[in-house]
């Protein structure tokens, strides 16, 4: 491709400047990609949520528990297939800094309801059989070097005391949107201890997870469940898992909006930088473009050369930026692993990167292109000598 060769040679005529411009674009695309990944990670739970699962919790707030007796009533609601329940344990592993989600669940129904947590049949059996057993996600086990059979102690914050658990299974997520940092154990174990201590917290569930027979009945079933418990001592609020996740996200909405804003401002600034470079280059080459015109090249051909050069620089830069996004996201993800269990570069972010770079390349070339099409041969030639 002869044209490509010319464009590349032209672009690299001024090696240092071109290299710096490419580097600048790389950095900007990297920043943009990272920001989109942030936003994506925030919505992580939403991605992984299922349309055929509901969450039922106290209508006052998540910190209030529901009676265990609700499980049967919920099961009787039309459209309900599976009922499971869980309670947030909030235990600390050695140090508060090692934060991860840990909670008690009704094991059998929970695993049924969450087929995306992949466990081998042996692990499942072992877990179900051991009252003190727990299951951890692959990333979590790796982080602390836990092996099957290890005893792990959590210090209770809500449920005081030191609690021992034995690792019986390590689950893998079915796809990369699944959180692999969870720690769950038997609700019965927790409840027994509460009953023994005579705690008011016995026979209470933090929330119920409900599987519906058909996703399109989700809303209807949710309303039906809430109606069942209306005007009782513990009123409920039932919503789809997705809505439940979204409601948490919206509580941090301000920060998310700020990040979105910044990501777009980045693009604007980089357009300015590339445009600056292109116009510098153009100013130097005005004479040449005039000569092209004397040779019979029409305006649009010259425009094509300018745009082509701009695009080449931009695309090389964004390619590098996209490639770098992965390792950098990996590092940042590790630093933020306490907050974001899933921190992946989404396909969507890459497409946005590409779109952004094409836009940058085009806009940056606008003014020089316009000028080159309009330039009068005589003016241009005068500038050479």
């Amino acid at each position: 491709m002869f044209i490509l060769k010319i464009l590349i040679r032209n672009a690299f005529r001024h090696k240092l400047r071109t290299l710096l411009t490419i580097l600048g674009i790389t950095v900007a695309i990297l920043a943009f990609g990272l920001l989109r990944t942030f936003i994506n990670a925030w919505y992580g739970g939403v991605e992984a949520s299922s349309a055929s699962r509901l969450v039922t919790r106290s209508s006052i707030s998540l910190i209030f528990h529901l009676p265990l007796s609700y499980k049967d009533k919920i099961r009787q609601v039309d459209g309900v297939k599976t009922v499971s329940w869980g309670t947030w344990f909030g235990g600390v592993y050695i140090d508060e800094k090692n934060f991860f989600a840990n909670f008690a669940v009704d094991a059998k129904s929970y695993l049924e309801l969450y087929p995306e947590f992949l466990l081998s049949p042996e692990e499942t059996t072992a877990f179900l059989r051991d009252r003190k057993g727990f299951v951890a996600g692959r990333k979590l086990a790796k982080r602390f070097g836990w092996k099957i059979g290890d005893t792990v102690t959590l210090r209770g914050t809500i449920y005081p005391g030191n609690w021992d658990f034995v690792l019986r299974g390590i689950y893998r997520g079915r796809n990369e949107t699944i959180d692999e940092t969870q720690f769950f154990f038997h609700w019965d174990y927790l409840n027994e201890m509460m009953k023994k201590r005579g705690s008011a917290r016995a026979d209470q569930a933090g929330w119920y997870m409900v599987g519906v027979t058909r996703p399109d009945r989700a809303t209807e079933v949710a309303l039906a469940i809430d109606r069942t418990f209306k005007n009782s001592l513990a009123e409920t609020l039932t919503e789809t898992e997705k809505a439940f996740q979204l409601s948490f996200i919206s509580m941090s909405e301000t920060i998310i909006m700020a990040i979105e804003l910044v990501s777009f401002v980045v693009i604007i600034i980089i357009i300015a930088v590339v445009a600056n470079t292109m116009s510098m280059t153009y100013r130097e080459r005005i004479g040449e473009y005039a000569i092209f015109k004397t040779l019979g090249y029409r305006g649009w051909r010259i425009a094509g050369m300018i745009v082509g050069e701009s695009m080449i620089i931009t695309l090389i830069g964004s390619f590098l930026g996209i490639v770098l996004t992965f390792p950098v996201a990996g590092i940042v993800g590790k630093m933020l692993s306490n907050y974001f269990p899933v921190f992946n570069v989404a396909e969507e972010a890459i497409y946005m990167d590409l779109a952004a770079s094409i836009i940058i390349g085009l806009i940056a070339a606008i003014v020089p292109t316009y000028r080159s099409v309009r330039i009068r041969i005589a003016d241009g030639l005068r500038r050479i000598g």
Partner: protein
């Protein structure tokens, strides 16, 4: 070389100067914003609570919400000799119950979690930074509430005269209080016993008391924590609240730092492009000045000064815009306490000079290589350039 040389050169190539400076301004803006946010967060939580007060919660619980202090234990705490005696001759102490409820922001259907605190007689007095600004105090034994100003402004049903509905009861907001810059501004307060009844809680969340003598903290802490009848821990009130922001502060710091690093790389590159171009355009000038007898280091410092000036301009612009952030209030959920927290961006002198220093460093790093190139040019070759 006269300083006006550098200044005028920046002015002559105005467009480029503005573009490059804008890039730097953006970086400084993000940098300053991040510092201001962290500072605002810290200020809010540090000012929340005083070092003369002690918060007693159950051992191992990080927050009041998780904690439970039963009546028996609370009464033991009440008998500690370090507890100050109030004006009424009673211990200057309050037993409080803290839970989280969800309320809608005005105009949206979206739920947010907010903290509701059941207070005792002395609760208000224990917190002199809290002042009633509208209405009156709630009568104990009733379902009356007072709301913090941040909350009353933003949440449905929490303004003066409005009613909140939860726990199958109606609660009337009879007053609004201002707690300055503290987290209390995002809370609703009501009678502890009434609230505990409604939520069927049989234990308090925490006990707060004023120290008779602030230096006696360690003594009472030791006694409470070693008492076999008690499973409690004691912290100074301000320290307790500061710890609650750590996770959030760390998060903001990581986010802000990674963004700042990446952006600053971009800004430095932008500065380099600009300065290299400047050097290249002025090659014959450089040759002339060397011919006239200016030393290499004069040339170096002239261009370096130009780059620093570029950085400074960017820094001032960025700081200028960042200072407007002070008018914004951030309302978000504190991950640790699980409830609403509102705080401002706070600009301090420390942050301002750090931002300017940062912009100067960016200017320097961006300009040093081009400046060195300018100073090392061969005189004859540069004179030949036009």
């Amino acid at each position: 070389m006269p300083l006006s040389y550098s200044i005028r050169n920046l002015w002559t190539r105005r467009l480029t100067t503005i573009l490059t400076a804008s890039g730097m301004a953006l970086v400084v803006f993000v940098f300053a914003a991040m510092l201001m946010l962290a500072q605002g967060l810290q200020k809010t939580l540090v000012e929340t609570g005083s070092s003369d007060n002690v918060v007693v919660i159950r051992k191992g619980s990080a927050t009041e919400v998780q904690s439970g202090v039963d009546r028996y234990q609370a009464s033991i705490v009440e008998t500690q000799p370090e507890v100050a005696i109030g004006e009424d001759g009673q211990p200057f102490l309050a037993k409080e119950s803290v839970v989280i409820i969800s309320l809608h922001k005005r105009g949206t259907k979206q739920e947010n979690y907010i903290t509701i605190r059941g207070i005792g007689k002395s609760s208000l007095a224990l917190r002199p930074q809290v002042r009633l600004i509208e209405g009156r105090l709630p009568r104990l034994g009733t379902s009356e509430l007072i709301a913090g100003r941040s909350l009353a402004e933003r949440f449905e049903g929490s303004g003066l005269g409005e009613t909140l509905r939860f726990g199958l009861r109606e609660w009337k907001v009879v007053g609004v209080f201002d707690a300055g810059n503290t987290g209390f501004n995002s809370e609703v307060w009501g009678d502890a016993d009434q609230l505990m009844q409604t939520f069927r809680r049989y234990a308090y969340s925490s006990v707060i008391f004023k120290l008779r003598d602030p230096s006696q903290f360690d003594m009472v802490k030791k006694r409470i924590e070693n008492d076999p009848r008690l499973t409690l821990e004691a912290k100074r009130e301000n320290r307790y609240y500061a710890e609650q922001s750590e996770m959030m502060a760390t998060f903001l710091r990581i986010l802000g730092t990674s963004l700042t690093i990446i952006f600053s790389l971009g800004a430095i590159i932008g500065a380099m492009i600009t300065m290299y171009a400047a050097v290249s355009t002025r090659t014959s000038e450089i040759g002339t000045m060397r011919a006239l007898g200016f030393q290499r280091k004069s040339i170096l410092s002239a261009f370096l000064f130009e780059a620093l000036l570029l950085g400074l301009i960017g820094g001032l612009i960025g700081l200028f815009f960042a200072s407007f952030l002070r008018f914004l209030t951030v309302s978000t959920m504190n991950f640790q306490t699980f409830s609403e927290l509102a705080f401002d961006f706070t600009l301090t002198f420390d942050i301002a000079w750090k931002a300017i220093a940062f912009s100067l460093i960016m200017g320097f790093v961006g300009g040093v290589l081009p400046a060195v190139r300018a100073s090392r040019m061969n005189i004859i070759e540069s004179l030949r350039a036009t």
